[in-house]
Amino acid sequence: MWQLVSGIFPYAILYTVPLLITALGGLFSERSGVVNIGLEGLMVIGMFTSAFVILQLQPVLPYMALWIGLAAGMAAGMLFSLLHAFASINLSANQIISGTAINMVAGALTVFLARNMTGSGNIRIQRGFTPKDVPGLSDIPVIGDLFFTNAYVTTLVILIILFLSSFVLYKTPFGLRLRACGENPQAAEAAGINVRRMRYIGVLISGAFAALGGAVIIVTYSGEFNGTAAGLGFLALAALIFGQWRPFGVLGATLFFGFASTVANVSQVIPELKVIPPVVLQTFPYVVTLIALILFSKSSQAPRAAGEPFDSGKR
């Protein structure tokens, strides 16, 4: 049993991390008041950009290429999310439709460009980050086996971002103002806050984080861009709701989903789990989110003004 858990654990973490950072991006966007269901498309943008950049640079800078690729992915995500920001904030477009458009454009455009560049729609990189044992910490019993063996450096980066996010959101003036924009933008405006600028920042962060999520997939377990994020962007959205729009709630939700998906993937090779029909494990995260939606429906902590275009000066 223990072998099972400690064997699965690193894979679960691996799967969780991109989900976590993407969901955090969605958190910042929705907390500022803009619903962003284009997370899926933004992940794809991150995957494409990072794969492309790494492919080009890897012959020259084998290790740094990875980090540059991650940064490039984030930058591309931010740029692309400007489309959503402009539509939702300046033009008061329907945020769901705008987000869907982002998903569609990202999916189509990246494959189009990839095909133009490489002939097929896929981009494969030579080498990603290698998992290592963290010196010293991996010797700690229990925790060492679980967290610090076969760990990726990107996991650490994402965890740092998580802690920073929570700090910024709840302890800094910026975070207070951002949250006000998502709950009652008229109140924020009356307090002299530039709601539009705040929401732009929220959406740009979501673009950067979601793209980073896609890029992390490329440099850790996937290694190949193939035009889709397999629904992870939507799963991140579910995690955001499941985690009730709080950073550590989202951590819990994504860990939960990460485990569920990993168990689903390995269930056929593990005798104890083989009895569960695979479809149950595969649909588990989605079904569980539906149940959570019902349970949380009365007491939802969703930012009140999320999804509504901001009407300056409205009474």
Partner: protein, 356 residues
């Protein structure tokens, strides 16, 4: 009228953006578009294929548009289509009846399955106010995995794990006379069903008490409740109809355009349906026109790729850009208003100078 102008302009901008993209990646846009049109219209067979390609889009467009008119956002058309297509295929492969009996059953199965798949989001919205965008997205992926497992388990053929057996002639909705009429194309009964659906939806929405209720609930559920309408029942009914329409898209696609169903793919037509509904301004006839246009874009891209080397994803990209423009229609409206004002000012100035 204004809606039509906005839609046309969105299409124009999308096509222009597509041309730009083609040019930037080293292709000739004019040649590209010419081959695209030829690919969809050059022969009667190609024309038939264009109509057939448009058919699922008409259904998903109707599905999204209908839901939208009644205040609901059906992002789940993909999943409903997949489940509808699966159940239709299942019936077609399992029952052995003469075609005039089997085909109606196949169609009914597709509709019912799609409707049922939308029932849950409708119920959740009515009872718990769970936002249908999230619940339908969850069900999309649930449908994906259900079909992923169910096809190999129940419907597979002797060779492939990833797709079902082909439907026998009495179980699919193709008609030999129809295919021959269109020179061998894969056009099928679906197009007729689609046109019927367009007329039926238009009738329901505009002329019946059911349409009146559904729209009222969609526009303002509080007022509907105050006036004595049962909001919950109407939301569920709306989703059932929308889901059924998307299920018919599955019937058209998997028992008509193709004669089997493949796993591992969440049909694009579900999301394209959103674009079609938007472009068609949520009006059934507009949806039909928009769907045919998109059908053309999709049907012709293979030819364009063969002749000019332009990656077929250009069509997807153009469609996505069109929907972005349609979503940000305010920009277009402002443009139209500014052009109208400038024309008026110029006319006034000319009148002034004429007088002087």
């Amino acid at each position: 009228m204004k809606n039509a102008i906005v839609s046309l302009l969105a299409v124009l901008f999308g096509l222009l953006a597509g041309a730009l993209l083609m040019a930037v990646t080293g292709h000739n846009p004019l040649a590209g578009y010419r081959f695209l049109l030829e690919g969809g219209l050059k022969s009667i067979e190609r024309f038939g294929n264009t109509l057939a390609t448009a058919t699922p889009l008409i259904f998903t467009g109707l599905s999204v548009a209908f839901a939208f008119r009644t205040g609901l956002f059906n992002i789940g058309a993909s999943g409903q289509m997949l489940i509808g297509g699966f159940c239709a295929t299942f019936v077609g492969l399992t029952l052995d009846l003469p075609k005039p009996l089997l085909v109606p059953l196949v169609i009914a199965a597709g509709f019912a399955a799609g409707a049922l798949w939308a029932f849950l989001p409708g119920l959740l919205k009515a009872r718990f106010n769970v936002h249908e965008v999230v619940s339908t997205i969850m069900l999309n992926w649930t449908a994906y995995w259900v079909v992923y497992n169910a096809v190999p388990a129940y419907l597979k053929g002797p060779y492939l794990e990833t797709e079902s057996r082909p439907l026998p002639p009495n179980g699919n909705i193709r008609m030999t006379w129809l295919s021959e009429l269109f020179g061998g194309s894969y056009i099928n009964l679906g197009i007729f069903l689609a046109v019927l659906a367009v007329i039926a939806v238009a009738f329901i929405i505009d002329r019946t008490t059911l349409g009146y209720e559904l729209k009222a609930v969609g526009f303002n559920r509080h007022a509907a409740e105050y006036a004595g309408m049962t909001v919950g029942r109407n939301i569920v009914l709306s989703m059932l109809i929308a889901g059924g329409l998307a299920g018919l898209a599955g019937v058209a696609q998997y028992t008509g355009n193709a004669v089997n169903i493949q796993i591992g793919h969440l049909p694009n037509q579900g999301f394209d349906g959103i674009a079609v509904a938007l472009l068609g301004a949520n009006n059934p006839y507009g949806v039909m026109l928009a769907a045919i246009f998109f059908g053309l874009l999709y049907a012709g891209r293979g030819y364009m790729n063969a002749m000019e080397g332009i990656p077929p994803e250009i069509s997807d990209t153009i469609i996505a850009i069109i929907i972005y423009f349609a979503a940000t229609s305010i920009l277009i409206e402002r443009l139209v208003r500014r052009l109208a004002r400038r024309r008026r000012e110029r006319r006034d100035a000319e009148a002034e100078s004429g007088r002087a």
